[in-house]
Amino acid sequence: MCLAIPARIIELDGDKAVVDAMGNRFKAKTTLLPEAKLGDLVLVHAGFAISLVDEEEGKKTWQLISEINEFMDTQNRLSG
């Protein structure tokens, strides 16, 4: 549950943002990262942007996350 996902801010209204991670769009808040701007790549954890991320890092992490998702899926299947 400590997993944090890099995502790009594609809409921003006050501290309410819509972010995109690997094509998945979801809501996130920027309350904890007031400096975040539209277009920024941010690390989202439990619905909140917690830090800015550089572009290279973002791409690499997406790769890792898809692998971890695979892992969780297998776990879920195992426990299913």
């Binding site: 007031p34 917690i50 890792l64 971890i68």
Partner: protein, 360 residues
């Protein structure tokens, strides 16, 4: 990329050879644990270098007494329990949230905001947010407590089980029989608290602390940095995760946490009571504290019979040394919390340790 891995591996190999003795490096982050297993890093390390999975998975360290408190509240008809999905299967004394799910007042949320929304949508019920997690998650809880206070949303409260990583690391190093030579420090916790937060550990205990990201190459480079320090007889604080982590961390997040919470003594599964290691709501937010509202307390738990999670979390044994591992305790039918969460050491060993044995 391969270059970087080879180079780091060379340093690790020669450092471990020079050192000659057993070296134990502990990671205290569930995502590191999963990534280490997933990538098979263990298999390329020299024999005298061992990786220990410490108390880095928030689900695994949540005490049974806390789960029992949640379960008691789940029995009340006037409450809705809002919880992150990971907590649903963690065993308490009498079952888990999952066993109570038919009651329909247990809802899985993805964020603290969703929990607050549930309160707005259900004015006739009290929503109790099961607020667990380390420094990474606590700010998200603090935000909604402030929102609830500002909006006078009085049918919302939190059961704070938030924990702080640094006090736990200090306790591990204070144990007489500990075997930890260095820490691979958690990346996302550090994004909030800043890598500077580990300074005291390096100074007081003379153990290298290196903050690394989650990709295999970063983990290997983190281990490489640790081995370099150990073989040079040094203990330093270093972050190799500069893409995300700064020395001071996320100040806005720290402020909001300090505004809402104060450190309190609290129980960790397997580690017992640790001074100033949990977060309790400050007096001015007391009416959002579910412990106060319902007059409940978190009793220290009885150990689960046969489960050696405590020793696993302290790095004293490997999961396979637990007599229940793989037979009575498996991910689909877990006995202890380290097998519940996919970030738990036992679950990772079950999945990847077995694969490795089959391949070998």
């Amino acid at each position: 990329m391969l270059d970087r891995i080879n180079k780091a591996q060379d340093v690790i190999n020669s450092a471990c050879k020079t050192l000659g003795r057993q070296i134990n490096i502990m990671e205290v982050c569930g995502t590191h644990t999963v990534s280490i297993f997933r990538s098979g890093i263990r298999s390329i390390l020299p024999d005298n270098l061992k990786l220990l999975s410490g108390p880095g998975c928030p689900v695994c360290v949540t005490d049974q007494g806390y789960i029992d408190a949640v379960l008691r509240l789940a029995d009340r008809d006037d409450c809705i329990i809002a919880t992150y999905g990971d907590m649903i299967r963690v065993p308490g004394k009498d079952g888990s949230l999952e066993t109570k799910r038919s009651k329909a007042n247990i809802r899985i949320v993805l964020s603290s905001e969703d929990a607050l929304q549930l309160a707005k949508d259900n004015p006739g019920k009290t929503v109790v947010f099961v607020a667990v997690g380390f420094e990474t998650t606590a700010p998200a809880t603090a935000v909604v407590v402030k929102e609830a206070a500002a909006g006078a949303i009085d049918n919302f409260c939190i059961l704070s089980g938030h924990k702080l990583v640094v006090p736990a690391m200090r306790v591990l190093l204070s144990e007489k029989n500990h075997n930890i030579n260095a820490f691979l420090c958690p990346g996302h916790v550090s994004a909030i608290i800043g890598y500077g937060a580990f300074t005291g550990i390096v100074q007081d205990f003379g153990r290298p602390c290196v903050v690394a990201g989650f990709e295999p190459v970063q983990i290997i480079e983190g281990l490489c940095e640790i081995c370099r320090q150990l073989s040079a007889g040094k203990a330093e604080l270093k972050s190799i995760y500069s893409a995300v982590v700064t020395e001071k961390g996320n100040i806005a997040a720290q402020q909001i946490v300090n505004d809402c919470f104060e450190p309190a003594d609290g129980y960790w599964r397997g580690l017992g009571k640790i001074e100033k290691s949990t977060l309790k709501l400050k007096g001015k937010f007391g009416r959002f504290d579910a412990f106060e509202r319902f007059g409940i307390s978190e009793e220290p738990s009885e150990e689960i019979k046969g489960c050696r999670c405590g020793e696993v979390l302290c790095g004293l044994i490997e999961p396979t040394e637990c007599g229940l591992f793989g037979r009575d305790c498996r991910p689909q039918d877990p006995v202890g919390p380290c097998m519940v969460s996919s970030e738990g050491a036992c679950a990772a060993w079950f999945k990847y340790g077995r694969e490795k044995r089959q391949e070998g």
